[in-house]
């Protein structure tokens, strides 16, 4: 057996040598040097030939071969065999060994070869070859290095060696887990791998600098950390260079400019085989300094982060009457990087203790130099440190109060930027220890279930101010004393706090100005309470409490608002979360405050709103019967403003869920305007119109008195400059100013499913409609919230905004555990969309051409004409371009496509994936092109012309989390056999008229593996044959099994009149401005 050892030589080479069992046995009993070898030659080391043969057997070549001088245990003039060799030979390890220098034959591997060998060949040595423990450590270190590289834990550096500047990649060990692993590796290195090495190899093979060892004196073994770091440094650099071979880190432009010589030279040398940089030394010196400073944040902390130099701020134990005279201590501490609770005070270190550092491999002198160097780095950010450095054992600095405050405020972040840790007192930066104002608001209780005449946000409420520190109140006297101190750090309530003396004075003046005032408007109280009305010159408002209905409104958990009553004439059962939504909406109605129901798409915002209308109606009737409100009291009609594409959907939903609610659709060219409008809506409960008409019929809408204005898809008013947004806002404001003796002030509601928290200006715009002035002016809102949150991701601002809007915003996500368990696994909806003018015109033309023709034909010709006309009509319903094959502009020409865009906007914002099924391949192409450009997202399309392999690729791509979010499938090619559980939204763009086929397609998403609730939408063009056939399907269940055949045969056999009735457009007048601005309505539809 041959027993191999591996030693890492610090200039970057792995030395492999071995012991030969055979030679050792042969030597047994013989005297030293009896084999003729010189007295320093290791007598039973493997020969070079043996080493080379064995390596050859492993299908590997060494970079060089030669001899190495090593320090090994020795007894009686002979090297002591390794433990394993003695074990093989049934011998025991002798006592009283000394260390002597022995020359052994060896193989030499450069860093790249070392990595290759250790990561592959060294895993399974052949039978007669044994790898000693040192190999195990190098194998583990190789894995450790690859782990570091795979996680990007390396940085580029510029260093000097001799007179040369070198570009190097340095591995970074700055994570707790990495540090622990490195510590384990350092501890694992056996002494046999720590011997100093001197190499004698053929000069032609020499791979680096030569280490000369003095063999006359017993040396210290090398430091394990130094060896490991050398291994990681050399091998890491070599591997990264190999990975980046022939890659450029500089651009052509930079390389052509002499002014970027040093930078370009450095970047090029980072990917070259050799690290030397050939640029001007003077420029490189400057660059070296900059890069050193840049990297110091990561590399500070001593050798491989064995300890971290920290500064602990210790507050004075004794507090003088003038706080400015207090003495603070900044203590220097050596802290364990992974375990902050483990530390050693510099004072104790200088007194001779080593604490946790005694367990590391660093000796006292090494620790001392690392610490001193760290302090040298720290003094650039902390000049006062020089006071401590005046002595020989720096351990602490004393600072007066104001300087201590400067340290906490300015020096501490500067030190942290350099990679130092600063242990600040707990109260520093904590809101718990903050001195603040407290606002208390009092209001009467709301009378649940009855109509309360409230003035909403304009109502006057009682209020009072007080001062507090955390939960403790501060008296005016104590406050005055603090002001007199004029100190940035003050001692109060048994603790130090950070305070701006100027703010204290301003606050004092503010409180003086409030004396004798006891009422303010609710909106002002809320703005104060949430800190949006407050300037920067006073101390912050840290407390806000309220009683009565304001308390209910601001209750952090709106679930406390419960309305436990049934709605008599409401069809359908509300789910628990919908009941909660209804209670919340009704509560806001009672108190006259606007609210935004922002539930995820598909959670039933429409149903909750319709329930509100019905509930309100029933309560008023009951209250009148009880006599608790006068007979004069009227529930004014609700104005609902919606996008054109869902206008008729509302009518259908209202008829389905709340048939008592009389709905009036205000749209189309025949709509009433002027005084006729008021007459027309008389007796109706819900007037539904569109955003564009809210502007165009502004005057007519303003004449009416509205009990409520509701915006569906409220994001439509996000652009403040648009006429419709201005008109909606003005309408709401004017209604607020109306005097209404027998009804409540106008209530404002917004419905939207788009995540508001990501679009802050949109949030402001919706709130400006709901509760004007509550979020302040847009410019103030932008500087206070939009910029800090959107640009700087400021968590505190985000939390403050969330707290501010929470009482007025109810948002439930379909991923919430309480919601998901409450939802059916599959929700199916029919989505009715209008035709655009172009679609209606084309549709009518086809019908007009077909009907006279049909009457002239019979038999197969008649059937053929009917079927081909059906196809044409369905194509028109999908998109005019599908029918005309004009390849032209696709935007705003199809009601279905318009609605699809609106839906996808919300779906994408919610992070869901969608399957869109169509029976027309050409429609799939149109959708793919249009949606790709509209959303700047990858849209994939699976159709019959794709090969099996390509279909598989598309499916795999879609099924990855980061894959495309929109997948269009032709119903025939993608309707069965596929597993597409990444999607939770399914849209049937057109109908097959066979529910079984559609269900099969839906089941691509709704199947095992699906973790979300699936929402299925079937698009139907309102007033067309699609709607009529859909009704037919719903009413005649017996046809459901194969409606295609039945429906087709039924349709082709219909009389001319029946056909006309089926195909003629019945309702759904397209609205001009929802199609194309400025275009004219071309045809009048009945």
């Amino acid at each position: 057996m041959r027993l191999w050892q591996a030693v890492w030589e610090l200039s970057g080479r792995l030395i492999i040598w071995g012991e030969s069992e055979q030679t050792y046995r042969d030597l047994s009993g013989k005297k030293p040097n009896s084999d003729g070898k010189s007295k320093t030659e290791h007598p039973f080391a493997c020969s070079i030939k043996s080493l080379v043969d064995d390596l050859d057997g492993l299908e590997f070549d060494a970079d060089a071969e030669g001899y190495a001088k090593l320090w090994l245990p020795t007894q009686d003039g002979l090297p002591v065999a390794s433990t394993k060799l003695l074990e093989v030979c049934d011998q025991t390890y002798p006592n009283d060994c000394t260390l002597s220098c022995w020359k052994v034959p060896c193989l030499v591997l450069d860093p790249l070869a070392s990595m290759a060998f250790l990561s592959s060949r060294a895993e399974s040595p052949p039978e007669k070859l044994h790898f000693q423990d040192s190999f195990l450590v190098w194998q583990e270190s190789t894995k450790y290095l690859l782990d570091l590289l795979a996680h990007g834990r390396f940085i580029p550096l510029l260093s000097r060696q001799g007179g040369n500047y070198l570009a190097r990649w340095q591995t970074v060990v700055n994570q707790e887990l990495d540090t622990k692993r490195l510590t384990t590796l350092v501890r694992a290195l056996p002494a046999a791998a720590k011997t100093p090495v001197e190499l004698e190899i053929d000069p032609e093979d020499d791979l680096g600098t030569k280490t000369i060892i003095d063999d006359s004196q017993t040396p210290n073994l090398l430091n394990s950390t130094v060896i490991l770091e050398s291994f990681l440094s050399h091998c890491g650099d070599a591997l990264i260079r190999m990975f980046l071979k022939s890659r450029e880190l500089s651009t052509e432009y930079m390389r052509s400019r002499a002014t970027h010589g040093a930078v370009t030279g450095w970047l090029q040398a980072l990917t070259n085989a050799e690290p030397e940089i050939g640029s001007s030394a003077h420029e490189l010196l400057k660059l070296e300094e900059k890069i050193k400073l840049w990297s110091s944040k990561l590399l500070a902390g001593g050798v491989a982060g064995r300890f971290q130099t920290c500064f602990s701020v210790i507050a004075p134990e004794e507090v003088p009457s003038r706080f400015e005279n207090a003495q603070w201590q900044i203590e220097i501490v050596l802290q364990s990087p992974g375990e902050p609770q483990t530390f050693l005070k510099a004072e104790d270190f200088w007194a001779g203790k080593l604490g946790f550092l005694g367990k590391t491999d660093l000796n006292r002198e090494e620790i001392e130099e690392i610490l001193l160097k760290e302090l040298g780095l720290a003094r650039t950010a902390f000049p006062e440190l020089d006071m401590a450095l005046e002595g020989s054992s720096p351990s602490m600095i004393e600072l007066p109060t104001n300087e201590a405050w400067n340290f906490l405020k300015d020096t501490s972040p500067a030190l942290e930027k350099l990679g130092f840790r600063v242990n600040t007192p707990e109260w520093w930066g904590s809101s718990n220890g903050q001195l603040g104002l407290h606002l208390s608001v009092e209001s009467p209780d709301s009378n649940k279930g009855s109509v309360v005449d409230m003035l909403g946000m304009s109502q006057l409420v009682d209020f009072s101010w007080s001062l507090s520190l955390g939960d403790e109140k501060i008296s005016a006297e104590e406050f005055k004393k603090l002001i007199d101190q004029k100190s940035n750090l003050v001692f109060i309530g048994n603790q130090w706090i950070d305070i701006d003396p100027k703010k204290l004075e301003s606050t004092f003046k503010f409180l003086e100005s409030q004396e004798g005032v006891s009422k303010m408007k609710l909106i002002d109280a809320l703005r104060f309470g949430f800190g949006v009305a407050q300037g920067d010159d006073t101390i912050p408002i840290t407390g806000f409490s309220s009683t009565g209905w304001v308390g209910n409104l601001l209750n952090s958990d709106s679930s406390s608002i419960v309305l436990d009553r049934k709605i008599k004439n409401f069809n359908g059962d509300l789910r628990p979360y919908q009941k909660h939504g209804l209670s919340w909406l009704y509560f806001l109605t009672q108190v006259g405050v606007g609210g935004c129901l922002a539930d995820d798409m598909g959670l039933g915002k429409t149903v909750q709103f319709l329930a509100l209308l019905q509930l309100e109606r029933e309560i008023v009737v009951e209250e009148k019967e009880k006599g608790s409100i006068s007979d004069e009291f009227r529930v004014l009609p609700t104005l609902l403003i919606v996008p054109m594409s869902i206008l008729e959907n509302w009518e259908r939903e209202a008829a389905k869920f709340a048939p008592e609610i009389k709905v009036y659709l205000h749209h189309g060219p025949t709509r009433q305007t002027g005084p006729a409008f008021s007459r027309a809506i008389s007796g109706y409960d819900l007037i539904v119109t569109t955003y564009s008409l809210a502007h165009r019929d502004e005057d007519a809408l303003a004449q009416a008195q509205w009990g409520r204005i509701c915006l569906d898809e409220a994001q439509n008013i996000k652009n403040l400059a648009t006429k419709q947004s201005k008109a909606v806002r003005k309408l709401a404001e004017d209604q607020l100013l109306q005097n209404r003796p027998n009804s409540m002030p106008v209530h404002r509601v917004a419905l939207t499913g788009t995540p508001l928290e990501n679009r802050l200006d949109e949030l402001w715009s919706i709130f400006d409609f709901l509760n004007p002035g509550f979020l302040g002016k847009l410019s103030e809102f932008r500087s206070r919230f939009t910029l800090p949150i959107e640009r700087h991701r400021d968590q505190a601002s985000s939390e403050a905004l969330s707290k501010l809007v929470k009482p007025f915003l109810l948002r439930r996500l379909k991923t919430q555990p309480d919601i998901i368990s409450d939802l059916p696994e599959k929700i199916e909806m029919e989505v009715y969309t209008p035709l655009t003018t172009e679609q209606a015109s084309l549709y009518q033309k086809v019908v007009d051409q077909m009907i006279p023709e049909v009457s002239k034909l019979d038999g197969i010709h008649r059937k053929g004409l009917v079927l081909s006309s059906l196809t044409r009509l369905k194509q028109i319903c999908n998109h005019p371009s599908l029918y005309l094959k004009d390849g032209g502009e696709t935007s705003a020409r199809s009601g279905k496509l318009n609605r699809l865009e609106e839906l996808l906007e919300v779906i994408l914002a919610e992070g869901d994936k969608t399957l869109i099924f169509t029976q027309y391949a050409q429609m799939g192409e149109i959708l793919k092109k249009h949606l790709t450009s509209r959303f700047n997202e990858e849209v994939i399309f699976l159709h019959g012309s794709l090969s099996k392999k390509n279909r598989g690729l598309l499916i795999d791509k879609f099924q990855t989390t980061e894959g495309p979010k929109i997948f269009i499938l032709s119903l025939k090619a993608g309707g069965f056999g596929l597993n597409l559980t990444e999607a939770s939204q399914v849209i049937h763009y057109d109908q097959w008229w066979n529910p079984a086929v559609e269900d099969q397609a839906t089941d691509r998403a709704f199947r095992i593996g699906q973790k979300k609730n699936v929402q299925v939408r079937k698009f139907i063009c309102k007033g067309t044959l699609e709607e009529k056939i859909s009704s037919l399907l719903s009413s005649k269940k017996e046809l459901a099994d194969n409606i295609v055949g039945t429906a087709r045969s039924t349709i082709t056999e219909m009389s001319v009149n029946e056909l006309r009735e089926l195909l003629q457009l019945s309702t759904g007048t397209p609205e001009k401005s929802d199609i194309k601005p400025g275009s004219e309505i071309e045809i009048e539809l009945r």
Binding site: L72, T83, Y93, S119, S120, D133, L136, V137, E140, K143, L146, D147, L149, A150, G152, F154, I155, T184, L185, R187, A188, P190, A191, A192, N220, L239, F243, E248, L249, S250, T251, Y253, A262, V263, L267, T271, H282, L285, L287, K290, W294, K297, L298, G352, K353, G358, K359, D361, L362, N363, L372, K373, L375, G376, R379, A388, L389, E390, S392, P394
Partner: protein, 273 residues
């Protein structure tokens, strides 16, 4: 004058800069500053070398062959250096600063205490020779070489140490030695038992432990996850922008791409691909 402004900016950087300019002016070259800088810019100052006690360069004029300019400053004696190190070792400031590659201003006071000066106060000690010229006829070439030296000193103040007899490595070693001696005498004086002092020193095992890993179990329990990170260049984000003289925006995407490539390749390498 633009060049003086430039120098002024650099002077503001540190006390070394200020001292450098003072010396330049004291040597009577203040009027020749612009010409000196021009010679350097035109790359007419070649083979600049700093050795113990002197620095020199070859300088081309407008015509003819280059002339060698050499400047000699007396080396500080070994005895004085010893005193200087002994004084410096008493204050942690010097070791701290020098290890962090800074030269604190207090070093001037140290040299003053030992009866010497790091930057000669007395310019008569400085001997400037220009090949073929008399001392009184020193020209722009001498000014250029002096400027080159002082300019370098601003970037690397330890050149002053090298000029006066000690390189930075030697300085660090000497300071270490003096600090150890100081600590030793302090310990002896205090005669305290410092039980833990040797806790971290390396013992040389000559028993069977020599060959064996002391923590085989711990080593075998190590786990790795050699999988390309989803945020390969996260480490760069933790640092400030890499200072690259105005081309940061161009380099950053290339560097991020390189991180991405290395992490992916490291994963493949770990899998033996």
């Amino acid at each position: 004058m633009a060049s003086r402004e430039a120098l002024q900016k650099r002077i503001d950087k540190s006390w070394v800069s200020k001292k450098s300019q003072q010396l330049f002016d004291q040597l009577g070259f203040d009027e020749q500053l612009d010409d000196a800088i021009l010679l350097i810019k035109k790359r007419r100052v070649l083979d600049f070398v700093v050795t113990t006690g002197s620095f020199s360069a070859r300088v081309y004029g407008d015509v003819g062959a280059p002339k060698v300019v050499s400047v000699s400053i007396p080396v500080v004696s070994e005895a004085k250096w010893k005193k200087a190190f002994s004084l410096m070792a008493k204050k942690a400031l010097f070791s701290s600063a020098i290890l962090a590659e800074q030269l604190p201003k207090d070093v001037l006071a140290v040299f003053s205490q030992i009866g010497s000066d790091l930057i000669p106060e007395d310019t008569s000690k400085i001997v400037i020779k220009v090949e073929g010229k008399k001392q009184k006829d020193l020209d722009d070439r001498a000014a250029a070489v002096i400027y080159r030296f002082l300019d370098r000193v601003v970037d690397d103040p330890f050149l002053l140490f090298a000029l006066r007899g000690k390189g930075v490595e030697e300085t660090i070693i000497e300071l270490r030695r003096h600090r150890l001696a100081l600590a030793e005498s302090k310990r002896e004086q205090e005669s305290e038992d410092l039980d833990e002092v040797d806790g971290a020193s390396v013992l040389i095992p000559t028993t069977s432990d020599f060959w064996q890993t002391p923590n085989t179990t711990e080593l075998s329990e190590l786990e790795y996850n050699i999988k390309a990170d989803e945020l390969p260049a996260a480490i760069l984000k933790r640092l400030d922008t890499l200072p690259l003289d105005g081309v940061e925006d161009e380099v950053e995407p290339l560097l991020e791409e390189a991180y991405n490539h290395v992490t992916t390749r490291a994963q493949a390498y770990g899998l033996g691909l």
